[in-house]
Symmetry: C2
Amino acid sequence: MINRLVSKIKQTNAPIVVGLDPTLKYIPKHIMDKAIQEQGETLEAAAEAVWQFNKGIVDAVSDLIPAVKPQIAMYEQFGIPGLMAFARTVSYCKEKGLVVIGDVKRGDIGSTSGAYATGHLGKVTIGSKTIYPFDEDFVTVNPYLGSDGVRPFMDVCKEEKKGIFVLVKTSNPSSGELQDKVIENGSTIYEHVGKMVDEWGKELMGDDYSYVGAVAGATYPEMGKILREMMPKTYILVPGYGAQGGKGKDLVHFFNKDGLGAIVNSSRGIIAAYQSDAYKDTYGPENFADAARAAVLDMKEDIAQALG
Amino acid sequence: MINRLVSKIKQTNAPIVVGLDPTLKYIPKHIMDKAIQEQGETLEAAAEAVWQFNKGIVDAVSDLIPAVKPQIAMYEQFGIPGLMAFARTVSYCKEKGLVVIGDVKRGDIGSTSGAYATGHLGKVTIGSKTIYPFDEDFVTVNPYLGSDGVRPFMDVCKEEKKGIFVLVKTSNPSSGELQDKVIENGSTIYEHVGKMVDEWGKELMGDDYSYVGAVAGATYPEMGKILREMMPKTYILVPGYGAQGGKGKDLVHFFNKDGLGAIVNSSRGIIAAYQSDAYKDTYGPENFADAARAAVLDMKEDIAQALG
């Protein structure tokens, strides 16, 4: 799957992943109103609105980008109907040929991580049948429990030729409270995790990059530079571009000299582009999908210029 | 909710939480066969078997214990039908008067943690209605992203009078890879997180203990002792007893002098008791629920003796 991701990045010439993180405040009123009219003021209506919104965005941008990253929390907040919209979104995006990165940030003790890996990347056996429950292509993984929380994901990745992105240095303001702490050997926690990711990655290599990727936020470009050098064969998923404050010029450190090695996420900046100052005069809520397409094209240009 | 948990622990005289972590290998064949007969070899059948198994256990032990802890991964592995069984289990246990700790180990950047907190502890507003999607009483939270990944849970706890248990020192063999690293000031990462939990807890106090609890594994009793002293007002959720190797005598350090301050989880040791050497000669698969009841009574005795 990492080979497929790399090949799709080359083909689209866009190291971009669109974060499908639909909160209700991003969903145009006409979509929400219609859903409530049809299904009442229910979780089902919220889930239907999320699905219609996602479908509009995906239809408008799927030819431009290699991958999407639905953030499961935004679906889980609407309970079972929300998670059904998540599953439907994953399935639809795969039909459209997109690589799907499930942003689930799971991680637990070994047997429990195994269950998450099975549910999101692998298959369960029931009687004589095998079934893929959610069937994303990649998921994000939290490393706080150490290697026996990560290895069960790697085992499933090996079997299914899928991948993970392990949280190393996250994009949020307080990420340093743990991740920047300096440990015995003079390295930081995020460097320590980066080193583990590099080691795990060697066991699961694709053609040029590993099935084991890393998450490092655009909001910390200097740390991205350190991690880039430390993990040469690791694909870096870079959140924090756009709405969180990361700029095109900050991204250059996350890429290798071959122009590969990183994929940059934007969520709000794309899916809620029609609400932003840059696009709202041209695109109204009815044209939210066209605004998303324009925002993807602008992001592609911004990154291309930064990578020079 | 922390007051209710403490009062139920006193009332049952059992600082015990039963982990409802039903993997298929624990479910008696007659339950699985019946589910497959009714629903085919489907995720729905697996979910139905999980639900029937849980109901049997809960009915057999609910008068003995204050709380249950369903591990959501074990449900998520069966996709949407599995998560429906999770929701049904949460709801049934609450009807039975049990405190429900959703073992979800979520944690993300601020807005995303907010969505998880809403989905699991809080309510969403859809049109003019408010709905509680999963409505657990407590959830477990992963601290790797720092305080802005935890505070959104605290905000919802404050509003709903619910609680969280933050991962501090987990029970698994590799937990030390990050958690035991020594940082600048000479403390370990788990001590550093323990200190943060203590501080967060002061902002959200119940009568005697805080709404902000901690997770610390029975497999590391000496570290439990350190944490106990460091976080006097923090309830500690203690996994790792029983099948993972923690013994009654290891537990004493996790409790305060008042005999409170800790609640010990056992999953496999209770729900799969009928498969274990200690109970399998007395209880067959048909009597899995009676075996679970016997195991709870023995665990209660073991802990009472240890606390002496």
